[in-house]
């Protein structure tokens, strides 16, 4: 049976990817949960890994592992080649100018903390302002709150409307000559809203601010071109991009990174160490103290190869189709309210059911083999805006199918009957 089910409006010939073939690339999807085929719809939290990524990491440890940038021996050279080779893949994937602009970090959260600590403490003075949006993930709120506490700056928040879209007039009004940093999500993890980043960046630049884009939900789903977005920093995690956990990317404009002080000190980030002072290494190594997560970087490189082989635009088109199908189903489902109805949306269906708590829905769906997230999605201000304590979130990835969405709605129906 084709996983495309019987969705009438899809022109299968126009589809440039084969969901059935893609599913076979992911070993974890071939299992049952509670005796039913696993329907994994928690990609917003973390995506599954294709065989090529798993194999790249295991091959690296079987044949090439050593420390990077250190030895003259063969294995060290191979490890370095794989590590730096992945950096070039990342550069190309987000269209950065040079690999000097690609810093490997632990994940999106660490990247934001790095910018807040290094760029922030250097450039932010008392009375300055940092502007966020109401839809940010906690990881794009708390590092800035900490920076404000340390620097005496003020946090400003641009509100969203009831569709979950940023209110552009309010955003414009909040930008002023005291605004130093603007931090915005590419795609909201709780709502699926795609922000008009290019426009927001232009407006922020006109006010003289630098812009950090939280791309945790952006990079895996839509084309990310940092030159086109014109942002100053772009950050994302590998594990939502079909890569391993514990590794992520900080993209920063070379001139900004160059002028920033190191964040953590240690080996690899220095040229010379003397007790009366040390000379720091060039970019990007200045920000990569200590032995890095080499296997993670190798896995990220393999994940980018995988995504690129399918084509990020094809993934975007397919996931938009899935979202459209799911949104249409949701509109026919009684007692269901979709949270986040932005006109530009990607890959995320957040919802609540009348009279049933999201936690109970999550457990009930799990009994149907369906994995969704139930909770506040680390975006408590968003929950507050919509007057709910939590939502259920189905988030789609490249391997999801229309028949899985049918399973989701059958599960929702059963859940409503069970708790009704």
């Amino acid at each position: 049976m084709s996983y495309l089910g019987d969705a009438p409006q899809l022109d299968i010939k126009a589809l440039k990817l084969d969901p059935d073939a893609i599913r076979r690339d992911f070993p974890i999807l071939q299992q049952k949960v509670h005796d039913l085929p696993l329907v994994y719809l928690d990609n917003g939290a973390s995506a599954q890994k294709p065989e090529t990524v798993i194999r790249a990491i295991s091959d690296y440890y079987r044949t090439d592992h050593s420390n990077v940038h250190r030895g003259v021996h063969t294995l060290s050279q191979r490890a370095t080649d794989r590590y730096e080779g992945a950096r070039e893949k990342v550069r190309s994937f987000i269209n950065a100018k040079t690999t000097n602009e690609i810093v490997f970090v632990r994940g999106t959260t660490e990247a934001i903390n790095l910018v807040a600590c290094s760029y922030g403490l250097e450039h932010i003075d008392p009375g300055d302002e940092i502007l966020l949006t109401e839809m940010e993930h906690h990881s794009n709120i708390v590092p800035w709150q900490l920076l404000c506490e340390r620097s005496g700056a003020t946090l400003k928040v641009a509100p969203i409307d009831d569709r979950g879209e940023l209110i552009l007039e309010s955003y414009q009004d909040l930008l002023n000559d005291r605004t130093r940093i603007v931090a915005i999500a590419h795609i909201s993890n709780a709502l699926g809203t795609v922000n008009p980043v290019q426009k927001l960046t232009n407006m922020a630049h006109d006010a003289g601010a630098v812009v950090l884009v939280d791309g945790a939900q952006g990079a895996p789903h839509i084309t990310t071109d940092v030159e086109e977005l014109d942002c100053d920093f772009y950050v994302f995690s590998a594990h939502k991009l079909y890569g391993p956990t514990g590794i992520g990317v900080l993209y920063g404009r070379e001139n900004l990174l160059d002028a920033m002080p190191p964040w953590q000190g240690g080996g690899d980030m220095i040229k010379q160490v003397r007790f009366d002072g040390s000379e720091f290494n060039d970019l990007p190594y200045k920000f990569e103290a200590g032995t890095p997560n080499i296997s993670g970087v190798v896995g990220l490189g393999a994940a980018i190869d995988y995504v690129t082989s399918i084509g990020i635009q094809n993934i975007d088109d397919y996931e938009k189709y899935l979202l459209e199908y799911a949104t249409d189903q949701a509109s026919k489902q009684s007692g269901m309210r979709v949270i986040g109805t932005a006109r530009e949306k990607a890959a995320i269906l957040s919802f609540v059911l009348d009279g049933i708590h999201p936690h109970d829905i999550g457990t009930a769906l799990d009994h149907e083999g369906i994995a969704v997230r139930a909770g506040h999605h680390c975006a408590m201000p968003v929950m507050e805006h919509f007057g709910v304590s939590a939502t259920v979130r189905a988030s789609f990835g490249v391997y999801n199918t229309v028949s899985e969405i049918d399973c989701l709605f059958q599960g929702i129906q059963k859940t409503q009957e069970f708790f009704g």
Binding site: H34, H357, H359, T363, A390
Partner: protein, 152 residues
Amino acid sequence: MNSLRELYQEVIMDHNRNPRNHGVLCDASHKGKGFNPLCGDELELYLYVNKESIIEEIRFQGKGCAISTASASIMTETLRGRSVNEAEKYFHEFRALMTGEAREVDQNFDLGKLEVLNGVSEYPARVKCATLAWHTLLAALEGDTNPARTEY
């Protein structure tokens, strides 16, 4: 959904639909606030403890899932009229039931209706839902004004 029924027993569904002792107690001698950071659920607990250390009145309100609402409701039913010492004993026994630890106090302790929540122990991610009211109870009795958080 048969195995789901083992978790959501009829008594739980009933207490979720019609929570007992629900609401605010204006002349409370002890108040507690509970917060589950995992899901953002909140619970407020009100007690009136008399001079003989008997819980004369106990009420709760808040928003929560079926497990947390039913657990709070059954807790209030169980503890009304009992002494503070007995309530603390119930706390330890109930927590042991949820976490699957050996009963700390008394192997023969009768948890009564609370036993219907036994199935929750099979769902580690949901144990906090069931214990939120109890942690709030302990914080209220100890006079801790900070929101109680579940631990597991």
